[in-house]
């Protein structure tokens, strides 16, 4: 029997998706659970599995086309089955959405922002050392936008590192780094992801009364503990400072239900799970991966889960569950040599914690000048939900877990 595959709803606020790529061609057999296509939402590129087995009879949507959720995108039928395509599609359309959708598909194809970039760079061979290529891939940099200073214009390690540095300095760029051509203005279509970030954070910044509290933590013990812990671990299992902070924040949140909460109209929802979101920089913006129930997981498990999600994000293969359901967010710019900064609350959450770099600085200990490791963190909180005193108490409570890392193992 012929079955219609529809544009799936991959997030609670997803309205439409762009068909990034057909993985199965027309007339190709498909098993239930096999990947049929890749869909680009406003957050990520997600693989869509087929719920049916049979033959991919027809693609109803071209690659690069944006379609509302629920629109038929493909027909899967039994092998050799006779199908009246027009009839079945019409029927499906009548069931799901207003009938005008089919027309829209033809008239307003919306190419994915990613493709535009690729088309610019694929035309000519880029001269780069194998090392430079690997670093660029790891850091998600587009080689076509980097100027090579090696012999014959070869892109070498120093060029990629410089590009990575300037990218991190400008924090989040609207598009992949491009060279500036003197005297020529360039117009670039804003990607879905950037649009989503823009609208969500504008709403947050304008409608949520933010207030901010900064604390400084002695992270000497944490750094020492991390070093000792990592000595026995293989490279890919090593625990990062960020993993320590995720666990510390999760444990501290247990006593502060108002900060692990969200506002829905006039109702405050205090969440039963502590799901810590971690902002991750990607090519066109940022995504928040979510470590679920971080207060109940050992550090190594938090590390493995976070790593796996971050790798999927960087590879553009993020799963929907990776980025859904956070109840409190951490934004860590510590790797960029940052004193401190303030972050915008990730709606509808109550607060976000911005982490600066761990630095060795002069400190006064028992009336004597000494050298110590310190890290600044700034919480942004929603004044409709909580007040300065409560947020400050949280920051003070967090100190226990930041400065006495053995508590993270209890």
């Amino acid at each position: 029997m012929a079955n219609i595959v529809e544009m799936p709803k991959l997030g609670f606020d997803m309205a439409e998706g762009t068909l990034a790529k057909w993985v199965k061609s027309e007339n190709e057999p498909i098993e239930k659970g096999e990947i049929l296509a890749e869909i680009e939402t406003d957050k990520a590129t997600v693989e869509v599995e087929s719920s049916y087995a049979g033959i991919v009879l027809k693609h109803l949507v071209d690659e690069g086309t944006a379609m509302p959720v629920g629109t038929p995108i493909a027909v899967v039928a039994d092998e050799g089955e006779e199908v009246d395509l027009d009839a079945i599609v019409k029927e499906a359309n009548a069931e799901s959405e207003p009938p005008a959708e089919e027309e829209k598909a033809e008239t307003s194809p919306e190419p994915a922002a990613k493709e535009v970039v690729e088309n610019q760079s694929d035309s000519e061979f880029i001269k780069a050392s194998p090392l430079a290529k690997r670093i660029a891939e790891d850091k998600g940099l587009n080689l076509s936008t980097i100027k090579g200073t090696g012999p014959g214009g070869r892109i070498v390690k120093r060029d990629v590192e410089k590009a990575a540095q300037s990218q991190s300095r400008s924090a989040i760029s609207t598009t992949p780094k491009a060279q500036i051509t003197p005297g020529v203005d360039e117009e670039i279509k804003i990607s879905n992801l950037r649009k989503a970030i823009g609208s969500r954070l504008t709403e947050s910044r304008q409608s949520v009364p933010h207030f901010y509290i900064t604390s400084m933590y002695d992270v000497g013990e944490m750094l020492k503990t991390r070093k000792q812990l990592n000595e026995g671990l293989p490279k890919d299992e090593r625990v990062s400072v960020n993993d320590f902070i995720i666990r510390a924040v999760a444990l501290a949140l247990r006593d502060f239900p108002n900060l692990n909460a969200s506002l829905s109209g006039e109702t405050l929802i205090r969440h039963g799970d502590i799901n810590v979101g971690v902002a991750v920089a990607v090519d066109n913006g940022l995504l928040t991966v979510v470590v679920k129930n971080a207060d109940q997981k050992p550090l190594t498990q938090i590390s493995q889960e976070a790593n796996a999600m971050i790798n999927r994000v960087k590879a553009g293969k993020v799963k929907n569950e990776d980025i859904e359901g956070s109840t409190f967010t951490i934004s860590n710019l510590g790797m960029f040599n940052v004193e401190d900064f303030v972050a915008i609350i990730n709606p509808p959450e109550a607060a976000i914690l911005a982490i600066g770099s761990a630095k060795e600085i002069p400190v006064v200990v028992n009336g004597k000048l000494d050298i110590g490791w310190r890290m600044r963190a700034t919480i942004s909180a929603d004044h409709r939900i909580t007040d300065g005193a409560e947020a400050a108490e949280f920051m003070q409570h967090l100190e226990l877990f930041m400065e006495q890392p053995w508590r993270l193992f209890a």
């Binding site: 050392s129 090392l131 070498v156």
Partner: protein
């Protein structure tokens, strides 16, 4: 630690091993009465006697061939060839017999023998007596090929070569017998098949062996004044070839220069470069540079000879080039 010359280090190794094990004996052209072409075995004849310090006819095939027979019979001969250029006259014995007997007789025989021989140019001995054909010998499985770059390694590696049960070609360099270096006191050996970082640095890996090790050290001093720190990895033996320290260093520096005295084509540098590309391709940030002898039979004329041989300045230039 005493500071001694390469010549003294090699001489001490031989002397100590002959004192330690009476099965060890030496034979070669002018090793006895004359005390060795490069005076390495001076005084040996008087001390150990003509049975264990054997002057031979000018017949390299016989020197190596009889050493093989003695080794099969349970002795531990050290055969000296006046220069590696004469090893061609004993080629069949070296590569077809010494290198293969243990294997072809199903393990029934071991060949605990050493062939000591100096190679290299720079002493106006003209094209036929100035070659560095190390790579040729390193081509053959079954033969260990050792070529030290410091007096300490020369002593430790030669003692090890005498003690192990496999045939070892021990290549010295005629122009560095006077080179001095610190050598540990007392009895010690250095394992064969372990490369060694002789100087640490972070910008460029310089792979060298034999005479190119002291040359690289001089290059390092010159480059240090420009703020360039090279890391010198001394191969010490060409077979077995220990690439681990080379690859580890390369992963740190991402750039390499390989220096050898022999010709570039099909040389040690070719092999090492190929291995780096195989084992550390994703770490390559610039094409690997090879410093080697010009591709000509070595001139007799002193100035032309020096122009054809790799010099300290060539290593310095190659390092600058690889850093462009």
């Amino acid at each position: 630690m005493a500071v001694i010359t390469m010549r003294e280090a090699i001489s001490q190794a031989l002397w100590e091993e002959m004192e330690r094990d009476e099965k060890v004996f030496i034979q070669g052209e002018e090793v006895g009465v004359w005390g060795g072409t490069y005076a390495v075995t001076k005084g040996f004849l008087d001390h150990f006697g003509a049975e264990r310090v054997r002057d031979t006819p000018i017949a390299e095939a016989a020197i190596v061939g009889s050493a093989i027979g003695a080794a099969m019979g349970g002795m531990r001969p050290v055969a000296e060839l006046m220069t590696i250029n004469f090893a061609f006259a004993a080629m069949d014995h070296i590569v077809n017999e010494a290198a293969k007997m243990h294997y072809m007789f199903g393990g029934q025989f071991r060949l605990p023998m050493v062939i000591r021989t100096p190679g290299g140019g720079g002493r106006q001995l003209a094209a036929t007596h100035s070659q560095t054909p190390d790579a040729i010998f390193a081509h053959f499985p079954g033969l260990k090929v050792v070529a030290p770059g410091t007096p300490a390694d020369a002593k430790g590696l030669l003692k090890e070569a005498i003690r192990i049960d496999d045939p070892v070609l021990f290549i010295e360099n005629a122009t560095v017998y006077q080179q001095k270096g610190e050598v540990p006191d007392g009895d010690f050996t250095v394992p064969i098949g372990k490369s060694k970082v002789q100087r640490e640095g972070q910008h460029v890996t310089v792979v060298a062996y034999s005479k190119m090790v002291p040359y690289s050290m001089q290059a390092a001093d010159i480059l240090a004044k420009e703020g360039i720190e090279i890391e010198i990895v001394d191969l010490r033996s060409l077979r077995p070839l220990d690439m681990d320290p080379v690859v580890a260093s390369f992963k740190k520096t991402n750039r390499a220069v390989i220096a050898e005295e022999g010709w570039r084509s099909f040389g040690v540098g070719s092999e090492v470069a190929a291995r780096i590309y195989e084992e550390a391709f994703d770490y390559v940030d610039a094409p690997i540079q090879r410093v080697a002898q010009k591709e000509v039979p070595l001139p007799y004329n002193a100035r032309l000879e020096q122009l054809a041989l790799p010099q300290v300045e060539d290593i310095v230039k190659a390092v600058r080039e690889v850093l462009r």
